[in-house]
């Protein structure tokens, strides 16, 4: 039984050929690392790499949905810092309280963004910039500008430091579940298709009777919730709520999304490619660390920012080329 509307894998791959590059580069980098460094493929490196990057994958997933609507969320880093403090405060009650607590706190900031953008009609980057400031200030106020150490006696730190069935870190298990769920939401539900339609043309979507505001509220609350989850991972993995963390995270997330082939103008994007983009960015730093370890080069921590910016620049150059080619095809 062939239904034209049904999910078609071949058409899906064709449609996402732009993001195929990121997979190719990812495979290339991994094989480069495996050949060059002997500990690269060790279980320790793989699990700590995945564990550390789980929070970046989480915020990149939220950011991906926001960017697909043609918006942007600059508040994710501060929100993650804020929720890491909340999670640290909730840690004595165990992960079963801290997990929903951190996510709800993140969603609250997302809802604030959605309110600014949808009801007050403030441009997304101004609204989320204001939330970034507010969340940062809030995090410093509730923590008294101190790092808040977590309660080690409860099961709270198990999330960030132990592995499910002794194989995969719990954080990455949660992120995989999140990614699969969001993939299904994007490809198979009406709200997911509305998200893409809004990015294509918000006016046209509204005229077609799509629930534009509902979808926009969804993406900002989702992004806030993902940032909340990242904050939880941060607190649980490093044993402290850190109000000063999160600086530049929004850039990492945007870069990961863009590397994953999502157009910054919205209307196109892919969940798995975003995960690949986040992994790719993380891998660049992992490989740099190994190079540092071999002593061939020595990069101070300050280079990270420069390299991150340079990476984003290269990707944007590629995207600009793809977009101009698309324009030529259309006209």
């Amino acid at each position: 039984m062939l239904n034209e509307d049904a999910f078609d894998l071949r058409r899906y791959i064709q449609r996402n050929s732009a993001s195929a590059t990121v997979w190719a580069v990812l495979v290339l980098l991994i094989s480069f690392g495996l050949m060059r460094y002997e500990n690269f493929g060790s279980a320790y490196n793989i699990t700590s790499f995945l564990n550390y990057n789980a929070m970046f994958i989480a915020i990149s997933l939220g950011m991906c949905f926001v960017i697909m609507t043609g918006g942007i969320d600059l508040s994710v880093g501060s929100v993650a810092a804020f929720t890491s403090v909340i999670a640290a405060y909730l840690s004595p009650y165990g992960i079963q309280i801290a997990l929903p607590g951190a996510i709800i706190a993140g969603c609250a900031f997302g809802a604030l963004n959605a309110f600014f953008i949808i009801v007050m009609k403030i441009p997304p980057f101004i609204a989320t910039l204001a939330t970034m400031l507010g969340a940062k200030g809030g995090a410093l106020v509730i923590s008294g500008a101190q790092t808040i150490s977590v309660d080690w006696s409860s099961n709270f730190t198990k999330l960030g430091m132990e592995k499910a069935a002794g194989i995969l870190p719990w954080t990455i298990v949660i992120v995989i579940i999140l990614a699969v769920a969001l993939w299904i939401v994007l490809e198979c539900t009406s709200i997911g298709r509305t998200v893409l339609a809004i990015g294509g043309s918000e006016d046209a979507s509204a005229l077609m009777g799509l629930k534009v505001n509902r979808a926009k509220a969804f993406v900002y609350i989702l992004s806030g919730g993902c940032a909340g989850l990242a904050g939880l991972f941060l607190a649980s993995g490093f044993g402290a709520g850190q109000p000063l963390e999160g600086i530049g995270w929004e850039l990492s997330a945007i870069a990961a999304v863009v590397v994953g082939g999502t157009l910054l103008t919205g209307g196109m994007g892919s969940v798995p490619a975003t995960v690949a983009g986040a992994l790719l960015l993380g891998l660049v730093f992992n490989i740099l660390n190994f190079e540092n370890g071999r002593g061939t080069i020595s990069f101070s921590a300050y280079w990270q920012m420069v390299i991150r910016g340079g990476f984003l620049f290269v990707v944007i150059l590629f995207q600009a080329q793809i977009m101009s080619r698309q324009k030529q095809v259309r006209s």
Partner: protein, 325 residues
Amino acid sequence: MEQSVNVPKPATRPNIRLHGGLLALFILLLFNALVTPNFLQLQTLFVNISQVATIAIVAMGMTLVIATGGIDLSVGAIMALAGALAPLIFLSDFGIAYPALGVAAAFILPLFVAAICGLFNGAMIAFLGVQPIIATLILFISGRGIAQVLTNGNLQTFSNPSFSYLGTGKILGLPFQGWLALAIACVLFWGVTRTIWGRYLLAVGGNEKAAYLSGGPVKRVKIGAYVICAILSGIAGLIVVAINSASDAARNGNLMELDAIAAAVVGGALLQGGRAPIFGAILGAVIIQLVKYTLLANGVEDEVALIAKALIIVAAVWLQQRRKV
């Protein structure tokens, strides 16, 4: 889209906007005169002028960029970069061997680098069609990184009276940088209102396509706005370094993009473009600085001040959006 009907409006509407700002300024001054201890002192005036000058200078550049319908997030990073370069130059062997040349180079070279940063931003936006917020995000993050790489993350302290004049000098009893901001404002005001370049600047922001079809040098005007904004940020970075007699790449210009955007918007710049109220930007900068000072002088913590600033930005943009409808 509503942007397409947004033609530069006659001068009457900005005046209403300015009066709103002036009212806010009046209320702030009155509140401070009544509540804040020692507010009506010359010392307070000096402190505020020397602080507000940097915000005002960057805000004027931001106003030009916003007038084209863009935004520049990299201003703070460019401040850090320019501020890191200057001491490196006059503390170098060359700068010590030829003090006069060294100081001159310490002014010119950082501003030249800042201009290149602006050129980079502008070229990305004009030639590649990248959204301004993304294009300037690149330097927002890596600009400060470059500054920290250059200085190895160290605080550079120095004593160089001729360079420090930029931040500590006085003309007619008032801080030098205040006069500098005023001079820049006059030049920019003349440029925006009296030159063809200024007309095109507003035309690009009002309706880019129309400006292009009527033969306007859209790309050049846009790039020009980003270059000017970057140079002004560079000047502000130098001033901060001169005031402190020290350059800290991690803190110089940190969060300045927010102050500058807030000042520009409070001063009446329309985020959709098409309006460039230069003196409005100064008024906005004064309001932002006074709010900061008021909170600080009355013992409100820095963190709460951040939240207050966020509220001001949201409120200003919200009022703007409502008026448009």
